[in-house]
Amino acid sequence: MESEEFTLVRDMVRAFATRHAVASADDITPKSRAAAQQALDGLGLAELRRTTPPAATAQECALLAEEHGRLPLTTSLLGTVLLAPELLRLLGADEDGPRLTVALAPDLRLPGPQAADLRAWDCDGAEAALCADAEGTVTRAELGSPTPTADLLRSARQAYAVGEPLGRLAAQDRQRWQGYALVVVASELVGAARSFVEQSVEYARDRVQYGRRIGSFQAVQHLLADATVLVEACASATRYAAWCLDHEPPDRALAAARAAKAEVNASAVEAVYAGMQVFGGIAQTWEHPAHLYLRRVLVGATVLATTADLLPALAAPEATR
């Protein structure tokens, strides 16, 4: 995209987010979810990653995912706009079927070969799902009943593979797909962590205890400074990995994406902990949005690849060079 065009799209997502973010867990209702998803669909983003070459670069998609993560939103930007269309694009499939999201393993990691029991993830607005297994075989999946997840903003459903495989991703495309999915998912978590830390900085500027604004206490300042460093580390890692997807060979891009997800798995959670500590008691309540952020990054750290999956893989000598 031209930079003006990207700014326009991002501002659009930002305005949408401000309007449809929930203030509290109690605001999440089937009606609010449907209205928000309808509004997101109305932005006309479905084609961002549907054509070849794609209208939006991986870096632009990562930045939009980051933007979407900043506020508590129930909408499926990742599953239905950024991820499933990318799979269709890589397959070269040009069908105009039902609205799709992605199906993962029941524990939300990348599915193994020929997995039958699946979990559709980020399902708002989706009518079916696509599953790309460890060997690159892409299958369509039907959606079953909703399944609970600790991330109250995100909907997940049971899913069952149906019919013949739609196709198979060649090795390089499988690396592209996995790298891209890792980066997009991680970017949304970076947006959540960054925004929540910013909110806690704002709070520390106003909240008074012992006759002082708590942000003037060095213990609080250092907590927030460390959280800021973690957020910047996450942002650098995800944005660079996204750029690699656009410009580097797929194996190198996948290595960068794995490193980024590993950083985010650990640091986004750590940063949200710091923010919650600054908010103190209020962040322990149901009505405060803190737990929505915590739930998002905590579950997010298990989506696609956990730290335990990633670190040994990254320690292997052939992983990057």
Partner: protein
């Protein structure tokens, strides 16, 4: 901080420079250190060789002996050297920047070419026994005499390699009444001047890098002052912010070499590796990749016109995190380092412990982030 897409790639002319430098390196292999040669003397010899090829001061304008390119070009040269395990370019970039920004035209033309060529060896006299983190607490005084010269008294500490240096960029208080940040001035002090005593300190590694500098009634001429009276503090701040960047210090490629070595060793010893060590090595890989990504993001921001500021404290903390975890892990992968004398990994490990102290402690960096980046309030007790 809601920036748009960035270009993380190298500009084309940077690739060309790297190729040229590699070709030059092929013809100019790293010299061997002679058994009796102190490390700084060896590094100085290497400095002169690099300079003869035009690889020092790439970002310094040509009229001052440089090549008029950008800091990124100098970084690329550091990076190529680090990737070969060779010593980096001499760490004079921050001194050169101080002179370029604050020195007079005459000083720049006289001092910079000699600095780049290694004709003058420089050290930095900022810290004092009573002014470490709190640099503004310096008590070394430069008293103006009726003839216009200054009479300097005081003591400096951590003056790296002063025993091998000819000139010192010295900070001293010229005004006792002004607020701290307007009361310092900077000087170029020849270390052979009467009243100067240099005493090396032995570091924990056994190396003699740091020195004490004693100044007793040392006369400094007005023409040896850099900038106006009172410019000392902004000059010092410029200098240290250049010292804080992982990019400017060329450590990155050195970490990369060690990370690769840890991975290969772990692979060879996969049967006997202690529990959890593979994951810890993986974590070092992540730290390293994050640092590469972060350095490239900063580079891209610089190319897009952003100036270095308080965010360099974020860079320093990330570099410290990566370096300290990396060398701790290296000691676990190479446990024999603890049972030998003079092990290279162990020496680097000890140096990594200083990473959270030099160039502003990690606590000072957090203060800077809190106050200047996050704009958190100062102590506002009623």
């Amino acid at each position: 901080m809601t920036d748009g897409p960035l270009d993380f790639g190298d500009p084309a002319d940077l690739e060309r420079l790297r190729r040229d430098f590699r070709a030059w390196l092929a013809d100019h292999p790293l010299p061997e250190r002679r058994p009796d040669e102190p490390v700084p003397a060896f590094l100085h010899r290497w400095h002169r060789i690099l300079h003869s090829g035009g690889w020092v001061g790439l970002d310094v304008p040509e009229e001052y002996g440089g090549r008029g390119l950008t800091p990124l070009h100098q970084v690329a040269v550091s990076d190529e050297l680090g990737a070969r395990g060779a010593p980096g370019v001499p760490r004079i970039g921050y001194l050169a920047h101080a002179l370029m920004e604050f020195g007079s035209e005459e000083q720049r033309r006289r001092l910079l070419p000699r600095m780049l060529a290694g004709d003058d060896v420089w050290c930095q006299g900022f810290s004092e026994p009573g002014a470490g983190s709190d640099l503004a607490g310096m008590s070394t005084r430069a008293q103006r005499r009726p003839d216009g010269d200054y009479l300097v008294n005081g003591q400096k500490l951590w003056t790296s390699y002063a025993q091998y240096s000819g000139l010192c960029l010295l900070l001293a208080r010229t005004d006792r009444t002004a607020p701290a940040h307007a009361s310092f001035s900077a000087f170029v002090l020849p270390l052979d001047r009467a009243g100067v005593t240099v005493r090396p300190l032995r570091a924990a590694s056994g190396d003699e890098e740091f020195c004490e500098l004693f100044l007793d009634d040392v006369r400094i001429e007005e023409s040896e002052r850099v900038g106006a009276e009172g410019d000392g503090w902004p000059l010092a701040m410029t200098t240290v912010s250049y010292e804080r960047n992982a990019l400017d210090t060329g450590h990155l490629s050195k970490y990369g070499l060690l990370v690769d070595r840890l991975r290969r060793t772990a692979h060879e010893r996969s049967d006997s590796l202690p529990d959890g060590l593979l994951a810890q090595i993986g974590r070092c890989v992540v730290d390293y990749q994050v640092l590469v990504a972060h350095a490239r993001r900063r580079t891209a921001q610089r190319l897009a016109g952003q100036v270095a500021g308080p965010e360099s404290s974020v860079d320093k903390l990330l570099m410290t995190r990566a370096e300290q975890r990396l060398y701790e892990t290296a000691l676990l992968v190479f446990p024999d380092e603890l049972h030998t004398e003079g092990g290279e990994v162990f020496a680097d490990y000890l140096y990594s412990r200083a990473a959270s102290v030099y160039g502003g402690t990690s606590q000072i960096q957090r203060n800077i982030i809190a106050k200047r980046l996050l704009r958190l309030p100062a102590d506002d007790r009623a």
